[in-house]
Symmetry: C2
Subunit: 198 residues, 2 copies
DNA sequence: TTGACAAGTGACCTTTCGTTCACTATAATG
DNA sequence: CATTATAGTGAACGAAAGGTCACTTGTCAA
């Protein structure tokens, strides 16, 4: 089973790149963290850059599979409180799942250097979230739960502050609980502001 | 004039670190970009890390001088349109000033590695902006221009999306004009939502 | 004029980097 | 059983990294 090691290398790479970045990571430590010697890695990838490209391929594919198409859009909540609940569920996953955290960190660290990282970063941090909640808010407006307004603008106004708090968790993990409370407070403020009054 | 070169080194360091990061920058190229040979740099700083610390000192000091104290808070605008205007002025400066752009990029790239960078990043990207606009919105509520609400929550809801668009400009400079238009659209949406109705 | 010092040079050192290669152990295949 | 491909080893390589040092140059104070 060669492919097992191949994937283990990618996992270890994600871990190291998310901490030290591409330039700050060396193959010795990467191999050592897998219990093998550095030349062993070259049996599976021909260069450091090849590993990086494979990791990016995987991240891009993963994003495409899980957030890329319309099938994976979240259900429209059936109440304002449901929106808060859905939001908290999503945020709790995203700030506690190590793999997702490391993916964000890697994209953050390599966004100025690699074009594909740049593109995925914009999707991950901005347009993807906006698209997703544009759909949610459109549905909620149709059902009369939200005031009629530009759903895309609302989606942007809703997701950007939450994304900022998620980035705070990545930067200062000890503030995670506090940040989650802030997300909830913000979400409740949002529904109070934009919730339909009838 | 030794201190002239010392400052030129810091300027060149900011430029290189903001592009390639600390680990991705080498002293040879840094010196070359100043027209001197690498040992010349060591006449002014004893190590690469010393340069990094001096650069951080400078960034922290600059932030403290320009955004740190209450004296530097922006004036409370005298109309909702004034808020839009003030916002656009600030954003235009911040996304076009190369030094400010590079400062943000450096903080972005080193935030997971260096504790002081982490702290400054949080101030720069989150709490500093929130504090600033908490003051602005408090003043605007007092003057009856904004609906009474939690000024801190509003400041957060206002600045986080704008910061997200600024980060987009850093990541994809070719989208700067489009992003600026989005900032203005968001700002107008904000005053329509929270502006006092009387 | 001289002495001292700061700024800059170029050769050199050590370490670490990414990468290669001859080799071994293992396990499946004919 | 012999063979062959695969995964992993360990020594070695050249390049590039950060850093040192003896030396030159220019400036200015005594």
């Amino acid at each position: 089973m060669s492919s097992d090691t191949k994937e283990r290398i990618l996992a270890a790479t994600l871990e190291m790149f998310s901490q030290y970045g591409y330039a700050g990571t060396n193959i010795r430590e990467l191999s050592a963290s897998l219990g093998l010697v550095k030349s062993g890695v070259y049996k599976h990838y021909e260069s450091k850059e090849a590993i990086w490209n494979a990791l990016l391929d995987q991240m891009i594919a993963y994003y495409g599979e899980h957030f890329g198409s319309a099938e994976h859009l979240p259900p429209v909540p059936d109440s304002l409180e449901g929106l808060v609940h859905m939001t908290m569920q999503m945020v709790n996953i995203t700030v506690h799942d190590e793999k997702i955290i490391m993916t964000r960190k890697v994209l953050t660290l390599e966004q100025y250097r690699d074009e594909r990282a740049r593109e995925l970063a914009t999707k991950h941090f901005l347009t993807g979230l906006t698209d997703m909640f544009t759909h949610v808010f459109t549905g909620m407006m149709d059902k009369g739960m939200l005031r009629k307004d530009d759903p895309r603008m609302l989606a942007f106004a809703y997701t950007a502050p939450i994304a900022a708090l998620i980035h705070l968790c990545d930067r200062e993990p000890e503030k995670t609980e506090e940040a989650i409370r802030q997300v909830e407070a913000f979400s409740r403020h949002f529904i109070k502001t934009y919730g339909a009054t009838d």
